[in-house]
Subunit: 334 residues, 2 copies
């Protein structure tokens, strides 16, 4: 299962599908074939491993990170494929939480195949944490990233703000953004900064796989705004109802949203309780005045302070990133 | 010298005098006596070691962290005491930067004693960093500590602020404050919070050795203000001239000042360039509105941002402390 998990991690984090790995072992425990899922529309991990194994799959044990699927989507059901290939035993970690695809283990057992669920389930679930989150809550996992000084300023008094954090921090955050399904900003940020929101490589060229670029708000986005692009990956969603916007993104297969600003949209989503994770990128610098990195959250007294759970502290170049979760996971609110 | 440095560290950090350790070794390198300085008015490290050694000091090597002093203060000159005791050789780390006390090595050499300066000088200087700082600059080393949320707020909109950081952070900061010679606040903080500014133990009892309690500003401090106390350790200094206030504290033997607020005084001292170190105590929390932890620093555009050098990141309980220095040490400004 360690190896299956390694294989799963080769998959694409931002993909609508979960990352899955599969190892086929013969009755002596020797490796016959490996497979992993390379993204929606490509063969599932089990299908890849079975294709490599061919006739040698007969009598094998399949070790899979996720319960083999039972439904026909863009590819056929894996449970049936394992039965047809004559696999003798299936060990899997996580049971499929997707009601549309679940039932694979029952199909396998009905065909006389021994199934063993639960091995290393926690680690496998962690690998697909945001995908699991959307199945539990109906909403993507939302990471809100903001950058500021030690005194909570995101721009100087005259509005200038480039750059507060350094190149190393921006590079790391660019990489994390690339692993999300959608990047979200408000209409105010589009007006103020005209961002492209594309993920770019070291040569400043856009990378091949881009997240959705989502503008949330009711103000019109100019026809010439760079965020629109020409690749069909631009969306505008109405403001006002954070949950509706996030459910719409979930319907597009997005399980991880990267909320980048501005402060007004972030504050609205914070108040709506839909932000799961905060990444505070702090520069070792002071401004003393200027735009507040975080806008009014409706908190008037210290007893109502919004406390978060500190998960990690990272140093990137001269800057510090604090990784925080909401103390109560959103899934418990439902 | 390792041992001498260990002995020196037994001294009192907040004391006006530097921390010094001394080891006497016989010609075979065997330990004869040890000493360390226990604070102004008590014997110097060399005197303590010589008193223990008595006649056995004759022919010994003295290993001292600081060049033996050459002047008569509250105690007699150590250089002369070493000569009188018949010590054969003196190895010391740091040359005495205090012009009033320097010249000990020359006195020793004139008496035919072999002297070897410079061994582990960097580590010894680091031990007395703030004492060295005041000799170089004429001003105490100033540590400005502030506490706030991730978004730079030190109080909620209604003014309530207890507590933003947790008990573990407050305990650690209380311990650091105790190692300083003076705690400084502005008159605004006295009016708003009526702080005692005493260092207290786990039972909330004041500890025996207290830093000076200094209020800076021109507004009158109420006769009933708790900061005044009854132990003669209260001072009020005029506002407006940070350098003059710090020079006055240096004259009282203070080499490390703990500036605790409020934001107005801290901003004034920051603008005056007299703050050497910043400790930002950040709670993993958001307020979105309320009092800014850092007041106007006179910065209007991003090019003028005050950048600091990140020295360390510490976690205390749920909170994070960032330890930062001014990138250009104040001593270079002179």
């Amino acid at each position: 299962m360690e190896r299956a998990l390694e294989l799963a991690a080769l998959g694409i984090e931002a993909d609508p599908n979960p990352r899955v790995g599969c190892v086929l072992l013969d009755p002596d425990g020797l490796l016959v074939a490996e497979g992993w899922h390379q993204g929606a529309g490509t063969p599932h991990a089990e299908a890849m491993a079975l294709a490599i194994a061919g006739e040698r799959a007969r009598g094998c044990t399949a070790v899979v990170t996720l319960e083999p699927c039972n439904h026909t989507g863009r590819t056929g059901p894996c449970a049936k494929a394992l039965v047809d290939a004559g696999v003798a035993r299936v060990v899997f970690a996580q049971s499929d939480p997707n009601p549309m695809a679940a039932g694979g283990a029952a199909t396998l057992r009905a065909a006389g195949i021994q199934t063993e669920p639960g091995l290393m389930a926690d680690r496998v679930e962690a690998l697909n944490a945001t995908w699991n989150h959307v199945l539990r809550t109906g909403r993507p996992w939302v990471t809100w990233k903001f950058a500021g000084t030690l005194d909570g300023r995101s721009a100087a008094a005259d509005g200038s703000s480039q750059w507060i954090t350094g190149a190393a921090m921006r590079r790391v955050m660019n990489e994390r953004r690339a692993r999300c399904g959608a990047v979200v900003v408000g209409t105010g940020t589009v007006k103020a900064d005209d961002p492209r929101l594309t993920v770019r490589d070291e040569q400043d060229e856009p990378v091949q796989r881009q997240p959705l670029r989502v503008v949330v708000g009711d103000s019109p986005v100019p026809a010439a705004a760079r965020v629109r692009g020409r690749d069909g990956l631009y969306r505008q969603l109405p403001g006002g109802d954070a949950t509706a916007a996030l459910e719409a993104l979930a319907c597009e297969g997005i399980h991880h949203v990267w909320l980048e600003g501005g402060p007004t949209l972030a504050a609205a989503w914070w108040r709506a309780g839909v932000i799961d994770e905060v990444i505070a990128c702090l520069a070792p610098a002071l401004l003393g005045a200027g735009t507040a990195a975080v806008a009014d959250l409706g908190i008037t007294t210290i007893a109502d302070i919004s406390r978060l759970q500190l998960i990690d502290v990272e140093r990137h170049g001269d800057d510090v990133a604090l990784i925080l979760n909401r103390p109560t996971p959103n899934c418990k609110e439902k």
